[in-house]
């Protein structure tokens, strides 16, 4: 069983990427399972076409003992098994504890033994704000992590923080970094900057997702681009990315950048931004 999780700053494209690569992998007839670890529970929407009841919804209404597998696992496009952990309403309770509880519940009802997925993908809330959201980084849950970033200082900063978190768990023999996924929906679309960032972390960029109007369009129809425009270039991009991740064997313990190094990247972006503004060129590249 291949298990990995996708992290990255809030709104960076994690859910889009996870749902699309799940749909792509399932095209090959593999058993794929995705789990959204975010109280917004919106990752599986594009796979199932609607919002799903979550593990924690059930935990809340039925309690831990009456929960059944069919109540929390739903089949989406291409037969992808979809689970949403769920969480409390914004502003109350403890969402981090929620992730831990949801994972416990799934274990209890034997989801992995029953479904025997070939691949499990976790989509985790934007920033690793507390121990709960680091849960998938512990051994057993995932093998490696893929971090999504755009070419924006704040996204890079968040990615670097996630690397620090991976490193924190390192001595427990846990999860490693599999690589970076670049999303071209950036203030300046400059992949080379992210290549450089990845190299400094000791890893590489496994795939580039360009900015594409087809992504929000598919989303409006509650679909992945794999389902909505299967023959498009952007659908193929996700297929390549999915294969690249599954075949990836390079896993590293990242070497997070210092604040000074991050400032350096920040300046590079600033210079580029100014240049492009002056020449009036398309800031975000071609759509």
């Amino acid at each position: 069983m291949r298990k990995f999780c996708v992290y990255g700053k809030g709104g960076i494209g994690k859910s889009t990427i996870v749902s699309n690569i799940a749909a792509a992998l399932a095209e090959n007839g593999e058993t794929i399972m995705v789990m959204g670890c975010d109280p917004k529970s919106d990752m599986t929407r594009n796979l199932v076409g609607k919002r799903l009841p979550t593990v924690l919804d059930l935990f809340r209404t039925e309690g831990p003992d009456r929960m059944k597998l069919d109540d929390v696992v739903f089949k989406g496009f291409n037969g992808v098994h979809c689970i949403e952990a769920g969480g409390p309403e914004p502003g109350v309770g403890c969402a981090g504890r929620g992730v831990i509880t949801a994972v416990d519940m799934l274990d209890r009802i034997g989801v992995f033994d029953d479904i025997k997925p070939d691949t499990v993908i976790y989509d985790v809330l934007g920033d690793v704000v507390c121990g709960g959201f680091a849960m998938p980084l512990r051994q057993g849950l995932a093998d490696d992590v893929y971090i999504v970033t755009t070419c924006d200082p704040m996204a890079i900063y968040a990615a670097n923080n996630i690397c620090k978190c991976i490193k924190r768990f390192a001595d427990r023999g846990a999860v490693t970094l599999g690589g970076i996924i670049y999303n071209g929906r950036s203030v300046v679309d400059e992949p080379s900057i992210i290549d450089g960032f990845a190299a400094r972390l000791g890893t590489k960029v496994l795939g580039r997702v360009p900015m594409s109007i087809l992504i929000p369009r598919a989303e409006l129809h509650r679909k992945t681009v794999i389902e909505y425009v299967p023959d498009s270039e952007i659908a193929d991009t996700f297929r390549y990315l999915a294969t690249a991740i599954c075949e990836n064997e390079d896993r590293v313990m990242p070497d997070p950048l210092s604040d000074d190094e991050l400032d350096g990247i920040n300046e590079e972006i600033e210079v580029l931004l100014r240049e492009r503004e002056e020449t009036g060129s398309n800031l975000t590249g071609d759509v």
């Binding site: 924690l56 809340r60 309690g63 109350v92 309770g93 403890c94 504890r97 929620g98 509880t101």
Partner: protein, 374 residues
């Protein structure tokens, strides 16, 4: 071992003897607080709990609290519900005040935040009392009356000790107005009527607060163990109030066991506890002539205390039920005198440890323990 702020707040609050304490905590904290209290008074079940479970941690405990408030109000005939929010709601950020304000109940409701990790048991006690002082009313001063501050309803020997101290003060022409915290809500409310506050070991924040709010001066004294400790207490109060009373005590009972006491002179002992420990150590040291080898407070490092005792010649240990293990390991007797005591009962309210009678009872207990051990 210190119970942390939650336990302190619980003990102070449950000292309002007709209040119902509603603990907003997981079941473990509630059970601990309850069991230490009910050992010696099994009818005293004036507390309820929201019993936070994982569901309340993840989704917030506000609904559970609202429900518990409504139910407690239905189930108990009480003038006041005291809500104590412990560690869990504090970590997840339950808005306890908003929940309390959202319900209309027969009973008055007061709530306080007391996360165990935010301070010691002592801090919890002090803060809770100061908070509860909001219930007090300006009252006409009753001459030659005092409040005794520093008690908790689950202190070992509390009933007997209070009774003895009251007796001694009555002999000295002083009435006890309120015992804090071991009195009814009515008595608590009229605490400002006292001419003087007497702080016995803890509760000085409340005394300071009452001095500012109600102009009641206060005196800080050690817990009255032994003849010396007792005399100091009654003399200081008499002097402060100007009642001109000379304390007399009876040393006849001690004469009867003089030979034993003589034999025990120089006995090495160790002691641990809350503020009671300091006063007890003085009694053992100065009056019985024991050698106090290690004297520690609850907030001190327990491991260090254990090490200290192990490396000493200690032959009697003074503490709480928590010291059972170390006493057993070292095969020495343990004399329980300090919270929490959950493996002994004290139901007879004429066998105190405080005051003159207390000195006799303590001496008797010590001699008997030594004679029957081994």
């Amino acid at each position: 071992m210190d119970g942390g702020k939650f336990f302190g707040a619980f003990r102070a609050s449950s000292g309002i003897t007709d209040a119902v304490v509603l603990n907003h905590v997981p079941v473990g904290c509630n059970w601990g607080a309850a069991i230490f209290k009910t050992t010696s008074n099994q009818f005293d079940m004036r507390h309820a709990c929201t019993v936070m479970h994982e569901r309340e941690i993840v989704f917030g405990g506000e609904d559970a609290l609202r429900e518990a408030l409504i139910r407690a109000d239905e189930l108990y005939d009480t003038p006041i519900l005291l809500v104590i929010a412990g560690d869990a709601p504090s970590i997840i950020g339950d808005d306890v005040g908003a929940v309390v304000n959202s319900v209309t109940l027969d009973a008055e409701v007061m709530w306080m935040e007391a996360a165990g990790f935010k301070g010691s048991m002592r801090d919890g006690y002090e803060e809770a009392l100061t908070h509860l002082a909001g219930l007090m009313n300006e009252s006409d001063m009753i001459e030659n009356s005092v409040n005794l501050i520093g008690f908790s309803p689950d202190d070992f020997k509390v009933d007997a000790d209070v009774k003895e101290i009251k007796r001694l003060l009555r002999d000295a022409g002083v009435e006890v107005n309120s015992v804090i915290s071991k009195c009814s809500l009515e008595q608590f409310k009229k605490a400002p009527a006292a001419e003087l506050n007497v702080v016995l070991g803890q509760g000085s924040k409340l005394a300071e607060h009452m001095k500012i709010e109600f102009g009641v001066p206060y005196l800080e004294m050690e817990y009255p163990y032994g003849l010396e400790g007792t005399t100091q207490l009654t003399s200081a109060i008499s002097e402060e109030l100007g009642t001109g009373h000379e304390p007399e005590f009876d040393i006849e009972p001690f004469k009867k066991v003089y030979l034993y006491l003589h034999e025990l002179y120089g006995t090495p002992v160790s002691i641990i506890g809350d503020f009671h420990a300091e006063a007890m150590a003085n009694f053992l040291n100065w009056e019985l002539g024991f050698n106090v080898e290690v004297s520690a407070r609850n907030v001190d490092d327990y491991f260090e205390f254990e090490e200290g005792v192990r490396n000493s010649n200690t032959t009697i240990l003074f503490g709480s039920s928590f010291e059972q293990n170390i006493a057993r390991t070292l095969d020495i007797p343990l004399i329980r005198f300090c919270y929490p005591v959950f493996d002994n009962v004290c139901v007879y309210d004429d066998a105190p440890y405080a005051g003159f009678r207390g000195a006799v009872c303590l001496t008797e207990a010590i001699i008997n323990t030594v004679m029957s051990y081994g």
